[in-house]
Chain length 264, copies 2
Amino acid sequence: MTAGGGPIAVFGCGLVGASAAAGWSASGHEVWGSDRRDLGPLVARGWIARQVPVEALEEAAVVVLALPVGGIVAALRRLPWRAGQLLTDVGSVKGAVMTAAAALPDGVSFVGGHPFAGSEASGYEAARPDLFAGASWALVGDGDPLARVASLVRNLGALPVTCGAAEHDRVVALTSHLPQLLATAVAAELENRADPLATALLGPAGRDFLRLAGSSFTVWRDILDQNRPELERALAAVTARASQPAGALEGEFELARALAARLR
Amino acid sequence: MTAGGGPIAVFGCGLVGASAAAGWSASGHEVWGSDRRDLGPLVARGWIARQVPVEALEEAAVVVLALPVGGIVAALRRLPWRAGQLLTDVGSVKGAVMTAAAALPDGVSFVGGHPFAGSEASGYEAARPDLFAGASWALVGDGDPLARVASLVRNLGALPVTCGAAEHDRVVALTSHLPQLLATAVAAELENRADPLATALLGPAGRDFLRLAGSSFTVWRDILDQNRPELERALAAVTARASQPAGALEGEFELARALAARLR
């Protein structure tokens, strides 16, 4: 079984790419992997049929760009895509990616994607076929290409959520990018103070908050850079809320509890 | 078996108080509970021997103030403590509590305490005897009173960590109070925008970050108020770190990863 008459090539086999490759292979697709690293271990596990060079990507029916956002944009601009191919990505910012995709040659289809799974780990060592089970997967696109990518996403057990690029970037600035930035900044401040009590006086709630602190700058640099305007707006709004005197915070706690209740 | 020749009274039987009472009862102490709520369910479970009025607290050998910080300070100032009694508390701020304790009558001992357990839940419904197993429990004090409270803390499976009030408050501003404030502010901003995508475009990392958003203002108002100077310093430092352009954040991610590696 293949996707739209040919293999799926996953360009970038880190945590997200390798997990998606594994899931698609398990559901019967022919999956190729392309990466600077040797993907022999993924072939051995049956997660990809074979490793291909970048030059072979134009032979795939579907190409999934599972690179950092800067790499996705560069790949859209520079590789020799072929009419009839369907491209999608897994980048955490959609505005910059959709702008680059708008300049693709005629006949090349693109659907922006962003799975809400993964962790602070990276590399295919942390990958697993069920990484996306039950996770939202934002999709920006329309028509038949959207339907085909949505079907592939469902193959992984994920839930397609269709949205616009701008609203995606506005929401994830708050749900993902600012949390990453704030957890990093709190952890950096704590580490910089070099207080031996820092790890002793840290409960489960603080640990949850700081879980993202182990994330890789390689992945996040592009995201934080490409979504900077929305991120700055979000940081300013959140700082203003947090700077109020304690007595004035009751409304903030009420809003937060309303959201928390919906998340339960 | 009793603590220093008499019962332990737990004043305030919410999540922390009821869990501690349950643990001490399980390890053979006679435990009294005092609360505005009916503690019948805790008596029925054997978590406390009986419910006593506030007036009876002066008859206990050890009194554990398990109230919001404002309530702890008020209890230290207003109740008729008796020479020979040992008091301790579980408040998340130690400076204000130690200042109030310094004015206790001669012969009344006090050791400040702060367990690093609990959750965004509150009330004895969420309590459990093993809540503190493996958790740090900060203690501010010295001599025989410190040794006695440390022993009680160990009865609960917690790990006593001795520290000064000022350093405690400086560290927890970053490990606990600022995370609570920032998670609340991000959740409030998200809820206030009323974007239907907010909960769909939220992955496991964002959920971890926002877990604290369900916390009770009743508990946090006093904490955020009493530790305001350290909290303001922490917020300013973190905002400065987070406001840097993406390209300048590599050092922040490196510091954060160093802390994350020690937390693993």
